[in-house]
Amino acid sequence: MTPGWVLHRRPYRESSALVEVLTADGRQRGVVRGQGKSSQLVAFMPLLIDWGPARDLRSLTRIEPMGPSVSLSGNPLLCGLYVNELCVRLLPQDEACPGLMADYGRTLGALRDGEIEPALRRFERALLAQLGFDFSVAATADGQPLEDDLRYWVHPESGPRLAPQTAAGAAFGRDLKRVQAQAFDDAGVLKLAKRLNRQRLNALLGDKPLQSRLLIQGANS
């Protein structure tokens, strides 16, 4: 059986459910038939899956929960939904992503333990890497190492460029290096990482906003 995580479940026909799962083989979707079996599948649940024959819509013929779903509530739950929405929106279906499952599991654990922002930034980076969007911000677009005390602009689709030293919104080289190293002990670095990740994610997401992001903003305003 294949291990996976439930990302989302929505009712399908009378007593079935359409589920999105994250496995080493990628984001996958299928049908779970039967009220009893489908209703116990919930987001953030680790499980083992047997897939039926490949068709347009495969079914999950056998499922075995590997434990309760990671129990999240309040703001961490909304953040978990954000992680799931990123996966569902950005991961192409059935494209292998061997390392991401472990990142996903670690992220849920951190959300449950209340270590939210650094965990989200790490997951966003892991996802961007999986999507081939993880270029370094520790060197300029033409390969020069950054100077700690100079300021740089970062375009979402290329590396940093030297900025006029009075430019508003340009980041210091030393902060960009810490973002690259994911050294998130400083609130300013964490914020910079959030801004840089968001620019890249937005470039991939296009015009349709993330509903979970709007929800988190609404709940915290």
């Binding site: 919930v42 987001a43 779903s69 129990s71 739950l77 509903q211 929800l215």
Partner: protein
């Protein structure tokens, strides 16, 4: 198969809008309506038409109602300061049948679900907040125990500072066989255990 009556085909297709009705049972229903109970079928058609025209939503609690305000909202004997929030008219009916709540209700249009694109505005959260602002002592959240129910409860809480919110207990259903319960229900029930002696 050749069609003997296009209207019959259309009726058969239309009946499949009902939950749990596939092509075969739709055919059986259509035959029955036309061949065996044409008089009752006429009544059904006119009641359905009238219901669709005349049933709307109560402007206060959003339960189905033929008047601007429903009987529950206009009942002076009910406690106007305790507001129970449910996610469908069916859930309101379940509480009314059991006769357990003598306060008022607010019926959401489902639950917030970002992955299905369902936002707070679409499930009537702004209307709920307006109702809460009219003055209540307690808001009882009677929502499905699910990720979406939890997200909806948290969002309502974030928008209701200073209001007493309560929610239904979660765990083992009456007569529920512990052996057959899923790990999540077991976890909730164990987490919500109470001192016994």
């Amino acid at each position: 198969m050749k069609s003997f009556s296009p209207l019959f085909d259309e009726l058969q297709r239309a009946l499949q809008v009902l939950p749990g009705v596939g092509p075969r049972s739709a055919q059986r229903m259509a035959l029955n309506l036309i061949e065996r109970t044409p008089r009752e079928a006429k009544t059904l058609a006119s009641v359905l038409d009238q219901a669709l025209n005349e049933i709307g939503h109560c402007q206060r609690c959003y339960v189905l109602s033929e008047t601007d305000e429903c009987q529950i909202c206009t009942d002076a004997k009910r406690d106007h300061t305790r507001l129970m929030v449910v996610e469908s008219p069916g859930q309101l009916l379940a509480f009314e049948r059991a006769g357990l709540h003598d306060g008022q209700y607010f019926v959401l249009n489902g639950l917030i679900s970002p992955l299905d694109g369902v936002s707070p505005d679409e499930v009537r959260i702004p209307q709920l907040l307006g109702r809460v602002r009219e003055g209540v002592d307690e808001v009882i959240l009677a929502l499905t125990s699910s990720v979406e129910g939890e997200a909806t409860a948290h969002y309502i809480k974030s928008q209701c500072p200073g209001i007493t919110l309560t929610r239904l207990a979660r765990g083992i259903p009456m007569g529920g066989d512990i052996e057959a319960l899923d790990p999540n229900t077991l976890e909730l029930a164990l987490g919500a255990r109470e001192r016994w002696s």
